[in-house]
Symmetry: C2
Subunit: 205 residues, 2 copies
Amino acid sequence: MARFRETVRTLLRERLLDAAFERVAEHGFDKLRMAHLAGDVGVSRQTLYSEFPSKEAVGEALFRRELERCLVGIQQGLDAHPGDLRAAVEAAVGFTLTLARRNPLIRAMLTSTGEGGLLPYLTTRSAAAFELATTALGTYVAETWPSIDPVARDLAVDTAVRLTASHVVQSAASPEESARRIADTTVRVALSTGAERLPAGTARP
Amino acid sequence: MARFRETVRTLLRERLLDAAFERVAEHGFDKLRMAHLAGDVGVSRQTLYSEFPSKEAVGEALFRRELERCLVGIQQGLDAHPGDLRAAVEAAVGFTLTLARRNPLIRAMLTSTGEGGLLPYLTTRSAAAFELATTALGTYVAETWPSIDPVARDLAVDTAVRLTASHVVQSAASPEESARRIADTTVRVALSTGAERLPAGTARP
DNA sequence: AAGTTGTGTCAATAGCACGGACAAGGCTGG
DNA sequence: CCAGCCTTGTCCGTGCTATTGACACAACTT
């Protein structure tokens, strides 16, 4: 019955996150003021607090929304190469690294120096991001490459996600080159049997 | 300060008009029920009455919104042919007649038989539509053809608008053919001096 | 040490949507 | 013809929610 009020709530949330995106992208998260954010949307500060219980919640929601948008591109990159693990991973990772380099929010997150920044969401508190990305890549691999050994598959997925995250926060080369290297590594891990002959002098438990 | 509530109000208005458009286009204006309209958007009937004081106001707003959309196309048709009066009028009139033939709202307005229909807005109560269309065409002609005699210009603009309205409610031929004829008539009126020699036997006051 | 700024919380007020009910008028079927 | 039903338009009481203004608290500045 009250369907309209629900859409208003989501609209308010979107507007708040839009305004937060603008301010954070320009001046960083620590320079963001709750009063300014509420004023941008044309709402009282308490209304903002009724939607987001704290400033930290704003940052978390902001990061989650951007992450979900990113995951859409990752999923598209995977789906564009069904059956070709290397190309799929390369496309998905390349998209992620390119987006991370261009997205002003992520740039602001990485360049923020202060204590109350958003950087933890990309590093120490990135469990949610890891989980989502790992699930997306894991289901893709499990569906299109069911023959791969599950142990190797999980290792490969985890490797791809963690390497990508590493390159997001500290890119060594171009996104394309990094994506190529990560895809190469992922394929190597995925196709390994765990029983290869090791070079002489290498111990294995 | 309260900018968000304002956008919510306009959003509600748009949603209501969207729902009204759907229902009117399908079943006609007289079959539209205020309770259904409110239910479609997910709002109480009283909220609907707070936005539109009467059902007639809904129909009026619905017609005005459609008219304004139509005027955008008319303006584009005029602007696409600067300096060529015949082509500009033909494009604008052709767009209008084609839109009127395809638009389900206008079709429903014309086919409604009942007393409480929307037809008056296209005929007896079409002062607003005439005014807007006349202004658009008038400013175009005045800007791009300043050399035309003002009397002939006003006559031509009025003729074009009224002929177009006539073809909207009672189309004789295809929109293209009608547009061509109306444009021809408009140009003849616009370029007339009011002092032509009349055929023998014709009286002039 | 005092002032400033910003976060988070609380209480009182005002506004708005809601549900329920009502009168008035028109339509329909018996 | 008339009784019932539907629909429009209006009113009022209620409840939810945003707003306003204030406050405590912490960190930083002067």
